[in-house]
């Protein structure tokens, strides 16, 4: 696998290289594009960083208010807590460097768990509390619900850091909405490749996912791609369960009775952990070859699963996510190392993927504003900000992210990792061991093209 990864890595560097032309990066950070020594790409600052006390006449003096919304309570409440911790780290860093063109960042927030009032609350942050830019959104459904409100009513930029439905960016170009984080389609496409390449004998493929668009779309993308790569697979009747289901035992035994070789599952958060534990208890992993979960690379889920539940034999368990705190490796990519250390100092935990992407979002905002300032010599208005965001490259803990202008979608590599016990490696929870890295250029569909039905 390493040979192939070397190739894809080079592909990726090309894309980043393309984006680098004339780019402004808020952080001067070294990026080492490879594990254990490869070619080093240094992201150079073509425009001098605008940190410091830089206040022109056109720059407002009041703080820059950024509103964010995540699940702060309920079954997925940890996601918000983790993301907001990361946002606070980024805010403090930026503010200690003098803010964005001298404007300090101020964060305000609302709870996405209040499902009936997601839109109300977003509107409140903008109209009533004066948020100039929005960040966040955990649920795909909520992100789609917000499109109309953001694009037509509010007309403020929204940087999505978590919601992963292709429909958000790939079903028509949004004007004010950007997504800095990985979306589900490349991860699912990579999963299909992973299965096709590593499990040539696997025939029967089962699915259990949450009963909403994310669950259906993930299976649709994965299964379509897999059928294309490996026409002999048999796709079993997919199982969908209500979000927040706690008793999977009957489903698991039903699945066992279907005798699958591979189980694909897009369950996430607490649901993923609950399912996993019951699957262990029910011996599912003893009878299958591999378990593939695109959302397993979440530290909170892994913590809930616990080392004791990692089967020592049986199926390979693969997980992915938007960011894995051990990649790029700390010894070669100091930004990631620094972020993990800061996050641990603040929360006592290892950063989950939502932390990585939300942290990066603030730097993307900073970079875009400074880029626009460099070109226009003034604080950008909304349209100018949008223009600056398009094509920007920003370095986050996961490495540089290139924001594709055509669809406002952030691009970087996809990783898949195999679940191993964390204890022996010094972690208090299971971690993803050997990583398979899929280059963005290779795995991303072209902009505004998706296997998912858009209507």
């Amino acid at each position: 696998m390493s040979e192939k990864n070397n190739i894809s890595r080079r592909e990726f560097v090309k894309i980043v290289g393309a984006g680098i032309a004339g780019l402004v990066v808020g952080i001067g950070a070294g990026y080492v594009a490879g594990r254990g020594g490869g070619k080093t790409v240094t992201v150079t600052k073509t425009v001098s960083p605008t940190s410091g006390k830089q206040t022109g006449p056109s720059i407002p003096s009041k703080p820059l208010k950024i509103g964010y919304m995540y699940f702060m309570s309920g079954p997925f409440g940890t996601y918000g807590k983790m993301a907001s911790a990361a946002l606070e780290i980024a805010r403090d860093e930026i503010n200690s460097m003098g803010g964005v063109l001298g404007r300090k960042i101020e964060l305000i927030s609302k709870d996405e768990a209040d499902r009936q009032h997601v839109i109300d609350n977003i509107v409140k942050m903008v109209k009533d509390e004066g948020a100039e830019i929005l960040v966040g959104i955990d649920s795909s459904g909520d992100s789609l619900k917000l499109i109309k409100t953001i694009e037509q009513e509010l007309q403020v930029p929204l940087i999505v850091t978590h919601a992963a439905t292709p429909k958000l960016t790939e079903c028509g170009k949004r004007k004010f909405i950007f997504r800095i984080s990985m979306y589900e389609e490349p991860i699912d496409l990579a999963a299909a490749k992973l299965v096709a390449e590593n499990y040539p004998n696997a025939k029967r493929i089962a699915n259990i996912g949450p009963d909403y668009a994310y669950g259906w779309d993930s299976w649709a993308v994965f299964s379509k791609k897999l059928k294309e790569l490996k026409p002999d697979v048999e796709l079993l009747e997919p199982i969908y369960v209500k979000l927040g289901t706690t008793d999977y035992t009957s489903y698991i035994d039903k699945m066992i009775s279907m005798k699958p070789d591979i189980v694909f599952s897009s369950l996430w958060g607490g649901d993923a952990a609950t399912f996993f534990k019951q699957a262990v208890a029910k011996g599912l992993f003893k009878i299958i070859k591999a378990y593939i979960n695109p959302m397993l690379g979440a530290t909170d889920t892994l913590k809930a699963i616990g080392d004791s539940n990692v089967p020592s034999s049986g199926a390979d368990i693969w997980g992915s996510g938007r960011y894995w705190f051990l990649y790029p490796p700390h010894d070669v990519y100091t930004l990631n190392k620094r972020f993990v250390e800061k996050y641990r100092a603040k929360t006592g935990e290892y950063p989950p993927y939502v932390a990585g992407t939300s942290y990066t979002a603030l730097y993307a905002i900073k970079a875009a504003i400074e880029k626009a300032y460099a070109e226009l010599g003034k604080w950008p208005d909304v349209d100018e900000f949008v223009k600056a965001m398009e094509g920007i490259v920003v370095a986050g803990p996961m490495g540089p992210i290139y924001v594709r202008p055509e669809d406002h979608q952030g691009m970087y590599y996809v990783y898949w990792g195999k679940l191993v016990k964390g204890g022996p490696r010094g972690f208090p929870f299971p971690i993803l061991g050997d990583l398979a890295i899929y280059d963005a250029g290779e795995i991303f569909p072209p902009p505004l093209k998706t296997l998912v039905k858009c209507s």
Binding site: T78, K81, A113, D247, I305
Partner: protein
């Protein structure tokens, strides 16, 4: 369908029915004796789950001793919570319209969700280990823990039967359920009987939470789903009847498993369809007696 498969699904069903029975029997006995529909009953289930988590994961560790300590603690704690709830919150409302009792328990329900978040945080609390190992049935596997839960709830069911059939205080509760005024005038301490009944019902719910959470995990809001299912169970079985709770729980669990296997689309809906049919055909439930509203 192979016999192995049928067997494991039967065990899954019994496990689910056991939990439902424990919650619903508590709700049912409180209603039967005191005519109070406690909406916070599901929240007591949730509290039981968290206490068990605290004992087994935070204090003692996921050993059999930790789990057993969790069961016992949640039973005791929820008995106390139930007693205090009846004594302090509900008793002043006995003379008021029953809507107010319903609203008060609703208030308690939503408040307890947040209390749990304040103490334990909003995330899923998941037990990383089940005690007592696993058993194989064909190429299926069954955690012994599930069998322990089924056995425990069977024992609890028998104990409840024994309590109401054989002990004086159990019989006094039945007497008070029939006519609390006469019971009091004959010298029975009905205040104590009501507190005890409420405590017992609440303890059952807490115990259910403690038993369920190692497999089903604990999370804020788990009570809201549990209470509405319990309503279905006791309406089907008959409000106030312990045997009704057994049968109602079995019907709910069987309906669910069958739907999971045959037609998952209807899984969520079926229990309410059964509930509606029972209410229309036999409003007192399969084993219920006529319930006289009491003010």
């Amino acid at each position: 369908m192979s016999i192995d498969y049928a067997l494991v699904q039967a065990i899954n069903t019994l496990f689910y029915a056991s939990i439902l029975f424990l919650i619903a029997s508590g709700l049912s006995l409180i209603y039967g004796i005191m005519r109070i529909l406690n909406l916070a009953h599901g929240s007591f289930y949730m509290l039981g789950a968290y206490i068990s988590y605290t004992a087994a994961m935070l204090w003692i560790g996921p050993t059999p001793a930790g789990f057993v300590a969790g069961f016992v603690l949640s039973l005791a704690f929820l008995a106390a919570v139930g007693a205090l709830t009846e004594r302090i919150l509900i008793r002043p409302l006995y003379s008021k319209p029953s809507e107010l009792q319903l609203l008060l328990t609703f208030a308690l329900m939503i408040a307890l969700d947040d209390v749990v978040k304040m103490i334990w945080g909003p995330e899923y609390k998941s037990f990383t280990k089940l005690p007592w190992g696993y058993m194989s049935i064909g190429h299926y596997s069954v955690p012994i823990y599930m069998l322990v839960v089924i056995a425990s709830s069977t024992i609890i069911g028998l104990l409840l039967w024994w309590f109401f059939a054989k002990t004086t205080i159990g019989k006094q509760m039945r007497a008070a359920a029939y006519n609390p005024e006469i019971a009091a005038a004959l010298g029975m301490n009905t205040d104590l009987l009501f507190v005890s009944a409420f405590a017992l019902g609440s303890a059952l719910s807490g115990f259910a939470g403690a038993m369920a959470s190692p497999i089903l995990t604990a999370y804020p809001g788990m009570g809201t789903d549990a209470i509405v299912l319990s309503f279905a169970v006791i309406v089907i079985g008959g409000m106030g009847s312990i045997l009704g709770s057994v049968v109602g729980a079995l019907i709910a669990a069987i309906a669910r498993t069958v739907m999971v296997i045959v037609y998952p689309l209807l899984e969520v809906a079926l229990i309410y369809i059964v509930m509606i049919i029972v209410l229309l055909v036999k409003p007192t439930g399969l084993f219920g007696k006529e319930i006289v509203e009491r003010r």
